[in-house]
Symmetry: C2
């Protein structure tokens, strides 16, 4: 089957494809907030209907949380699984958005047209690149060049609690020769990239209780323990002066960067000043003596994602708070064991709780880092297809984010995964005013058409 | 004029007096929250009408904030000013209240009847003890034994921004021979007390900004500075290992406890285990080597009253926050200079802000500590009157809270102030389920009748 007419059809039908994406973006499928449960369901229904319209046998599959969408093309050729997620991040602070996050718009910017709205880049815009590539193949050739299974989840932004049970229960149905994952970005503005390593993620919430109720800071201040001080001390102790994390045994399983990879990454000429400058910063804040790219791709981190105690409204309240809490996450690399680290972290915290306070923990998920085996010939084929589309050699890169699905495909379904995406650093995912370049959507769709061709010709 | 019939009238009319207090408690006069501005006004009107009904020339006096209430009895005898405040603390967290905080109730408890509702003890119940004492004097004798001015403010719980300008503009009208302030408590359950020293208060809010927007902690974590970590480090550094505050020059002007006062306080046999036990704590958490009573009465403190950064809702959001902020207050003693301390505190914080972050401050008020001169014979007279009412020797005590009005009466109007109140440690002021013992209300009213008699006979 020939590629060129497929690419031509994608070009000719870009407007209609964009309209379909806008439809999907209008559904506020925020998975972490129970108020949007019905909307997550609606997004799954929308995808099932769209996949049916291009010949997939598609269904919404219940889980204890938000549903999965699974669709099969059937047919001959290699078995390919494609993964994306239809859920999106919360939108607060809402007042920092220039438009309603769920009334997406096509906007002209100095860098070209963008699709603005929550989920445009993470991940609805990205997953639709693959769906649109399939649509074009089907319209031109009446069939797809491979036996494709599409697998969308709706809990990626809330820790994927149902993912591994579902994969285990449906292992035979989901197993393919290779998995394709579209939830990542280009390297810089124009260089296509295949992720070969991903950081893992461990999320934990600690709540420290001191007095059994909020107290008057005049009556009790000086005599009563303030849990906000205890929490601050714990958070302040999590890094040493060199930016290293102090949790015992934390660096067990963290590999040194190989000379080969170090050289390849140096060749990428990462412009950390621009990367940080875009968000109002200028100084790499990670471990001393590490390359900026190492800091985000191959070194583990510990971040406070949220923290609260006492009175946080307008004005002032002289309260000595009963409770103080923080949401803390670790990005993991190499062979770091998230479960061991959670245990060591909790022990460390417990050891810092004074006699008059207590601490409780809430588990917010744990997944190990991922390392791809690039010796699979599919990597070279996909790299060539991306190079053809972008007219620039595709790079093998790391990723600071955590897409545990890649590791699960390996450990549960025993298949390799290629992470290929078209987002850009300035897409503002997880932030107000998220966008996806129209060129990302267009070239992304063309790229998948090329990759399907490359993997099956 | 005789005292006994006045006391008898107070006893006979307790129910009606209580009903009046409940009326006042129903008005949600929360001064710190602009949403309750009209309610503050309503509370002032209520007081003006009530004072007029017992013969005062009373008026509501506008300020840039909430109004003052000023009332004059006229007449002969010594000039006495009485101060209280009609505003109340916010009520959150509302779900911890057993009844609506503004639907006050008389409840039976193991320790006797209590008046339950926001402001019952702080300070509406207390100010009404004086009003009811005046009412009884007037009803029995047709007049008051002194030339009394009543002065109520409506901004005590929100930093009293209008207080000193108003006092300066109306100095002649407000100046008396002595001031009486009713915003404090008994010592323990049954010992009447006159406060002879009060801690000052300095409130400041710090906001640290790192990146110019919330970031994805995977994409940026490790490379971008997290302001929550910076804030935690600052808060953790405010106390040393011995519980001493590390702000430079902070202890300038902090006096050592005199041997005489130390002995008097030791005689009070402060039961710190009970005091802390009532709020779920057991270990005095202040400076090492200090008596528990010193920690709350005569040592300065630094407390985090509120703290927030990043995502604090349900679930988890892997955000690297743009901002982190904390409301911090200092309780001051002796001759500590709040303005100098604010300057030193801000310099210390600024010195800890890394190059990539910025900090801003918000002033939440500053007032020095207060020290009364007990050589004024009024102190001995009031002490005797309280001793008669409670049949227990009244104590001269310290107070951990901050009632800057006492200092202002001295510095602006050049008059001494006696702080006498009837609250109890378990009144839960500033907390859910605030209450005022009906016996506090009753014996408080009788005490003021006695004190008016003692000061004027």
């Amino acid at each position: 089957m020939t590629l060129d007419p497929v690419l031509a059809r994608i070009d000719a039908n870009l407007d209609a494809a964009t309209e379909r994406l806008l439809d999907l973006l209008r559904i506020p499928s925020i998975s972490t907030d129970p108020a949007y449960k019905a909307d997550c369901d609606t997004a799954a229904d929308w995808l099932v209907e769209d996949l049916k319209s291009i010949g997939f046998e598609a269904s919404k599959r219940p889980t204890p949380g938000h549903p999965m969408v699974v669709a099969h093309s059937g047919g001959d050729g290699p078995r390919i699984l494609f993964y994306g997620h239809y859920d999106v991040q919360p939108v607060d602070p809402l007042d920092l958005w220039d438009n309603n996050p769920f009334e997406p718009q096509i906007q002209d910017t100095a860098k070209g047209k963008v699709i603005r709205g929550r989920g445009s880049s993470d991940d609805k815009g990205q997953l639709m690149t693959f769906v649109e590539a399939c649509r074009a193949w089907t319209k031109i050739h009446g069939t797809l060049p491979a036996n494709i299974t599409i697998f969308f989840e709706g809990e990626e932004e809330s820790g994927s609690p149902s993912l591994t049970p579902f994969m285990r229960e449906n292992a035979a149905e989901l197993t393919a020769d290779i998995a394709l994952i579209c939830d990542t970005g280009l390297y810089g503005e124009h260089t296509p990239a295949i992720i070969t390593q991903l950081r893992g993620l461990l999320g934990d919430e600690i709540t420290i209780t001191g007095p059994n109720k909020d107290l008057h800071s005049g009556m009790y201040g000086g005599l009563a323990m303030n849990p906000a001080r205890v929490l601050a001390k714990i958070i302040a102790s999590l890094h040493d002066e060199d930016g290293r994390i102090t949790v015992p045994n934390f660096y067990d399983g963290v590999p040194e960067l190989s000379n080969e990879l170090a050289a390849a990454w140096d060749d990428l000429k990462f412009a950390e000043k621009d990367f940080l400058g875009a968000v109002g910063l200028s100084i790499p804040a990670g471990e001393k003596g590490r390359r900026p790219l190492e800091m985000i791709w191959s070194r583990p981190t510990c971040e406070v994602n949220g923290m609260t105690a006492g009175y946080t409204g307008d004005g002032f309240k002289t309260v000595l708070p009963s409770k103080a809490s923080a949401k803390i996450s670790f990005r993991l690399v190499g062979m770091q064991d998230p479960f061991k680290i959670r245990e060591d972290f909790r022990k460390m915290v417990e050891a810092m709780i004074p006699a008059d306070c207590s601490v409780s923990f809430k588990d917010h998920g744990a997944g190990p880092a991922g390392q791809m085996s690039t010796s699979d010939p599919a990597f070279a084929k996909a790299r060539e297809a991306l190079t053809d589309e972008f007219e620039k050699t595709a790079a093998y890169v790391g990723c600071g984010g955590s897409i545990p699905i890649a590791g699960y495909f390996k450990s549960i379904l025993n298949m390799d995964a290629m992470l290929i995406g078209f987002g850009k650093d300035d897409d503002q995912i997880h932030s107000p005013n998220e966008k996806y370049d129209l060129s990302s959507f267009h070239k992304g769709t063309r790229s998948w058409a090329r990759i399907l061709h490359a993997l099956t010709k």
